[in-house]
């Protein structure tokens, strides 16, 4: 019988699972035997994007490394909510040292494995945006420059959430935090130059750099898979909404992340050896208002006297991303589906 690829409509290209696919074609998360690297019982807030992102990424890394994985963790929400004595939620070997040294500690683990002749054991380092773009930046740059065999994952929730939502180098303009209150002429975080870690990583010419969100599991898992196929310093930047810090509904965590991508505010792309090799295009272009208005941290932009001036500046940022990365290209989503043949 002639077979033609039939795109999977009902289950969609974007759902976690797909009953018409055979097991190895499915996402790691659809597998009942997934590792659950970050296990139940952790103390993350309801709807925590970071908890979700961490399990997504590490489960995928576990599959890619056939379970030979060691994780290093910077101080932050993820560390605090996952390992309060006497309970740990990690099902994989895990080490927490300090806030600013996760990349270096991971380098040490990788070096140890190399010296001990254990090439099978792969090393992941993970930190929040503070531990990545701010206090851990020096160590991270060193790790990149030496091209140490570590996959560094930044779970970006755009502020210091663990300490009570203070501004970080990754906090976007106009966002309200505990240290950039929505008062005064410049309400919220002032517009700056930003600290584009993925680009900075690319400037180190490391073999693999990618961004992802918790809203597109397939994309995220494929990137982890690809990252694990290479050796050397690799960087994965995952946007993980924080209901508490962003003032969004706990049930909207994935929706918010999806909008960040669909507005163009968070470009999702992939770079090999310092060159952008692929972007995940916008499927339904969305104005930034739709993204901003469902987050309490931007509430001051709306209400009685909407700050259309600021909103349009933010829209301009989105438009610049769309232009820079070509985010409106022919939607790959439907040309690269979780398809099945009949």
């Amino acid at each position: 019988m002639t077979t033609q690829p039939v795109r999977f409509y009902q289950v969609g290209s974007f759902a976690v699972g797909n009953r018409l696919l055979d097991d190895d074609g499915r996402t790691v998360q659809s597998d009942p035997n997934r590792t659950n690297s970050l296990d139940s019982g952790h103390r993350a807030c309801q709807g925590c994007g970071e908890a979700l992102g961490a399990r997504y990424a590490l489960d995928a890394a576990m599959r890619a490394s056939q379970g030979r994985l060691v994780a290093v963790n910077a101080t932050g929400c993820l560390e605090v909510f996952s390992t309060p004595y006497p309970e740990t939620s990690w099902r994989i070997p895990w080490l927490h040292s300090l806030f600013g040294n996760a990349p270096a500690v991971a380098t040490g683990v990788a070096a140890a494995m190399k010296a001990k002749g254990r090439p099978d054991v792969r090393v992941v380092a993970q930190a929040g945006d503070g531990g990545t773009v701010d206090i851990g930046f020096g160590c991270l740059s060193g790790m990149f420059e030496r091209n140490d065999d570590v996959l560094f994952i930044c779970y970006d929730n755009e502020a210091y959430m663990n300490t009570g939502v203070q501004r970080s180098g990754a906090t976007p303009p106009a966002a309200r935090t505990a240290t950039t209150e929505a008062i005064g002429s410049v309400a919220g975080n002032p517009f700056g130059q930003g600290k584009d870690l993925p680009r900075i990583a690319m400037a180190h010419d490391v073999p693999y750099v990618a961004t992802a969100t918790v809203a597109d599991l397939h994309d995220l898992e494929e990137k982890v898979e690809r990252a694990m196929q290479v050796h050397g310093a690799r960087y994965l930047h995952i946007l993980v909404p924080c209901p508490l810090g962003w003032g969004s509904a706990s049930s909207d965590t994935i929706r918010v992340a999806r909008l960040a991508k669909e507005t163009g505010l968070f470009p999702v792309f992939e770079a090999v050896d310092g060159k952008v090799t692929g972007v995940s295009p916008i499927r339904h272009r969305t104005p930034v208002e739709e993204y901003l208005s469902i987050q309490g941290r931007y509430a001051h932009l709306f209400g009685e006297h909407p700050r259309t001036d600021i909103i349009s500046r933010i829209q301009a940022m989105a438009d610049r991303n769309i232009a820079t990365y070509g985010l409106l290209a022919e939607a790959l989503a439907d040309t690269d589906p979780k398809g099945v043949d009949v």
């Binding site: 019988m1 002639t2 077979t3 033609q4 039939v6 795109r7 999977f8 409509y9 009902q10 289950v11 969609g12 974007f14 759902a15 976690v16 699972g17 797909n18 009953r19 018409l20 499915r26 996402t27 998360q29 659809s30 009942p32 659950n36 296990d39 139940s40 019982g41 952790h42 103390r43 993350a44 309801q46 709807g47 925590c48 994007g49 908890a51 979700l52 399990r55 996952s82 390992t83 004595y85 006497p86 309970e87 740990t88 939620s89 990690w90 099902r91 599991l217 209901p243 509904a249 706990s250 049930s251 909207d252 965590t253 994935i254 929706r255 999806r258 989503a333 439907d334 589906p337 009949v342």
Partner: protein, 541 residues
């Protein structure tokens, strides 16, 4: 070696922390009524058989389908598919081509020679079914499955009723009709043809039947008194279609005018074209918006070159020309005469002004209440006369084959309950699965696969089938466009998106359950469920 105190912790220890206690709302899985199922007059579980068709298990899908309707191939051709009209996907891109998939399954079953489920164990009860149209045949099928023996009586020489004598072959090839009827008869039915029942009570008592189902349809074409010359040729659409079905088409001439605005009028006009008429003109007293005929039927007719004189009535027929009076619609939308007249050349006039039911067979059954020419029935389809049931065009309802088939099923169940002296239990309907509960993101954008049509020219001159079916590929394609509104289809989203791993996957077709020990009640699963099969309810605190 003993591990350092407190600094080093063992795997799995966090399970001691039952985060479920944080919850103020809990998610629960629900099943909702998909709009397609809700709209199907035959009561088909459309969503389920689409779901079964998706992996390519056509027999399973077909068997699911014929649970409710023994005529997939017929329905796939002549049903006006209200399911598609109500399909949620229409609000996303276009409705799922349910009817096309149904026809594919029906044809597939005929090719493979699949037979209907066998008759049920003999109940010892005998039921008389009068009329072998869609209602009668459907009732027969369901009665057989319930174990009753059936005598099926019809005045026509062949089974099928209006499916055969009212619907032209170019819409419903006879081979298809015969095949699906044969499957029912094969269940063991006592068929009596060319016999008209005159007195239902006598028939029942002499035949010793325990119950009767009247499905006599509406066979009498309505006539109106139109002044006409002797030579003028006037006939009604029902007879025209009937004679064509009997391969004894009447002479209509070159110019045929059809008077009426229903589907029958369109069938008559399109049939006239195929019988050789160069001009086939429909005269209708209202405008297009108020025309009862189904839209796509009209489209196909216009494609074939049929023309329509809107807002016109036939005043008189003078041997080779009609005098039409122009009408206008009043505020209530009723046509009012204008006193303006025009002429229209015509060799024959076909009246398609609706049909009436011949109820003479219940003259001796005074308990059977009749109103406006049709029989009054209870929800069980039983008439005022105990043990006498009725359905199809003979009862108040839209006169379509699908409705009739639904009547047949419901009547069969009513009769069965009556025979066993039980109360007919109608299953409770779930809440409707509305579009606003759908998370459309997860469904890829996909246009509907249109059924290819024969070249218009061929179609005009022959009775070949107008609309071809789907290939297997695009049937699957179409089936997979179903959103599975309101019912879990195991996409694993809830299992995947839970930050607390509080969803347990129970395995293929077992769906999932929540682990309330750890579910914090964040509600992400609810937001991200594509088909809206999860609700959030307050915790009892």
């Amino acid at each position: 070696m003993e591990r350092p105190f407190a600094i080093t912790l063992d795997v799995g220890s966090s399970h001691a922390n039952r985060t479920g206690s944080w919850r103020v709302e809990r998610p629960i899985y629900v099943d909702r009524l998909p709009p397609c199922n809700d709209a199907c007059p035959a009561g088909e579980d459309i969503q389920r058989w689409l779901y079964q068709a998706e992996p390519g298990d056509y027999e399973k899908a077909w068997r699911q389908l014929v649970e409710d309707n023994p005529f997939p191939a017929v329905m796939g051709r002549i049903c006006y598919h209200p399911c598609e009209t109500s399909c949620n996907r229409a609000q996303l891109d276009e409705a799922v081509g349910i009817n096309a998939v149904e026809r594919f399954l029906g044809d597939h079953a005929i090719e493979r020679g699949w037979s209907l489920p066998a008759a049920g164990p003999d109940s010892g009860k005998r039921v008389l079914v009068v009329g072998a149209g869609p209602a009668g045949l459907s009732a027969t099928y369901h009665l057989k499955r319930l174990g009753h023996s059936v005598s099926l009586v019809d005045s026509a020489p062949k089974l099928g009723g209006m499916m055969r004598y009212g619907i032209p072959a170019y819409r419903l090839p006879r081979a298809v009709l015969d095949a699906e009827i044969a499957r029912i008869v094969a269940l063991g039915v006592d068929v009596v043809l060319d016999r008209t029942v005159e007195d239902i009570r006598r028939e029942r008592d002499e035949g010793g039947f325990d119950a009767v189902f009247l499905a006599v349809g509406a066979q009498l074409g309505r006539r109106v008194d139109i002044p006409a010359g002797d030579s003028s040729r006037i006939l009604d659409a029902v007879s025209l279609l009937h004679q064509v079905a009997d391969d004894d088409p009447p002479m209509l001439g070159r110019r045929v005018v059809v008077y009426g605005g229903g589907d029958t009028a369109l069938d008559a006009a399109r049939t006239a074209r195929r019988l050789g008429a160069t001009d086939a003109v429909i005269v209708y007293r209202r405008n297009r918006e108020r025309m009862p005929a189904h839209g796509d039927e009209l489209e196909e007719a216009l494609d074939e070159g049929i023309t329509v004189r809107w807002l016109s009535t036939v005043n008189r027929f003078e041997h080779d020309r009609l005098v039409l009076e122009k009408m206008r619609l009043d505020d209530e939308g009723f046509p009012q005469p204008t006193g303006e007249f025009e002429e229209l050349g015509a060799d024959s006039l076909v009246l398609a002004l609706g049909q009436d039911t011949d109820l003479s067979l219940i003259d001796e059954a005074p308990n059977v209440a009749v109103d406006d020419g049709v029989v009054e029935v209870l929800p069980t389809m039983m008439t005022g006369e105990s043990g006498v049931f009725a359905g199809g065009d003979a009862v108040p309802s839209p006169r379509t084959a699908t409705v009739a088939i639904g009547h047949g099923k419901r009547a069969a169940r009513g009769i069965s309950a009556f025979l066993s002296g039980e109360e007919l239990v109608v299953p409770v309907r779930h809440e409707l699965a509305s579009f606003d509960r759908i998370n459309t993101w997860y469904y890829s954008d996909a246009p509907r696969t249109e059924r290819p049509e024969l070249e218009r020219v061929r179609r005009q001159s022959t009775f070949d089938e107008v609309v071809e079916g789907l290939t297997e590929e695009n049937a699957l394609f179409e089936a997979r466009r179903c959103l599975s509104c309101g019912n879990c289809f195991e996409c694993d989203n809830c299992f995947g998106v839970c930050p607390d791993n509080a969803v347990i996957k129970l395995g293929p077709s077992q769906r999932y359950e929540f682990d309330y020990d750890f579910c914090k009640g964040c509600g992400i699963c609810v937001t991200e469920c594509p088909c809206g099969a999860i609700d959030m309810i307050p915790e009892q605190i």
